[in-house]
């Protein structure tokens, strides 16, 4: 596997994140965020973390995008003129960001370059059984916490949708 592919993916990850925060249209921003998640999941898969990659792709690129799009559909819709004005204002605010990022990347690389000893090989293959052992063997408390969090989230969503129905009536 080539290091170049990983570098291209990292650049794509940062570029899609910039597009995600710079776009004025929330729907397009949600789609850019999904692309960011998809690229991150490819990086995870290449680095030998397939289970986390599947979670990232299905949950972050799928479910979170749906949540954002539903939130956009429930909020105010701008006219074309308003939208153009907002995009112009947003472009002005984010004009500095690409230059800032390039400068930051160069500075960080210059700081880290004396400490770089060589190119390590990119791992191949997954760690499926290792993850099972890690999750069920040493991270049971995390699993209990996750179950509690999921139940809390479900309860929260039920409460908010109930309020919405009440408001609708």
């Amino acid at each position: 596997m080539n290091l170049t592919i990983l570098v291209i993916l990292l650049i794509g990850l940062v570029a899609s994140a910039v597009v995600c925060v710079a776009l004025s249209d929330l729907l397009k921003a949600a789609i850019a965020l999904a692309i960011t998640s998809a690229i991150l999941s490819i990086i995870m898969f290449l680095m030998g973390a397939p289970l986390a990659a599947v979670f990232e792709l299905s949950v972050c690129a799928g479910m979170i995008t749906v949540v954002f799009i539903s939130a956009c559909s429930m909020s105010r819709i701008y006219t074309r003129k308003e939208h153009e004005q907002r995009q112009k204002a947003r472009n002005r605010r984010f004009l500095l960001l690409p230059a800032l990022l390039v400068a930051l990347a160069v500075v960080v690389f210059l700081v880290l370059s004396p400490h770089i000893t060589g190119v390590s090989p990119i791992p191949s293959g997954g760690s499926g059984s290792g993850v099972q052992a890690a999750l069920w063997g040493s991270r049971q408390v995390d699993l209990i916490g996750q179950i509690i969090l999921i139940l809390t989230g479900v309860y929260g969503v039920i409460v908010f949708f109930k309020e919405k129905e009440a408001d609708g009536k």
């Binding site: 990292l10 990232e56 800032l100 993850v131 995390d142």
Partner: protein
């Protein structure tokens, strides 16, 4: 430190910079959530990089799964709160949030 880990570190720092910059300049609450999402992507990438550097990818993967669950719950609850605010005030701007004294 390997070149790959250094590249990951640069990616993480850039994602953090994007998220924090966006948090600072935006006033829309849904955009604040998008910025938090970008910050979370940075954390996830950092965990993968550290898992690679230490050779404990399985542990890192377990942490990433936990973070994804936390991220989703945070987003679901926060979106509900934002929509509730929108129903109350008619807008989703940070300076429209009523303070407790009001």
């Amino acid at each position: 430190m390997s070149l790959l880990f250094a590249l990951f570190l640069i990616g993480v720092i850039l994602l953090f910079a994007i998220g924090i910059y966006s948090l600072l300049v935006t006033t829309n609450l849904i955009r604040v959530l998008v910025s938090i999402e970008v910050l979370t992507k940075g954390v996830t990438l950092m965990l993968i990089a550290v898992g690679y550097a230490t050779g404990q990818m399985a542990q890192a993967e377990a942490y990433v799964i936990t973070i994804i669950v936390i991220e989703v719950i945070l987003l679901a609850i926060a979106t509900g709160i934002v929509l509730g605010l929108y129903r109350e005030s008619g807008d989703i701007l940070t300076h429209d949030i009523p303070t407790p004294k009001e």
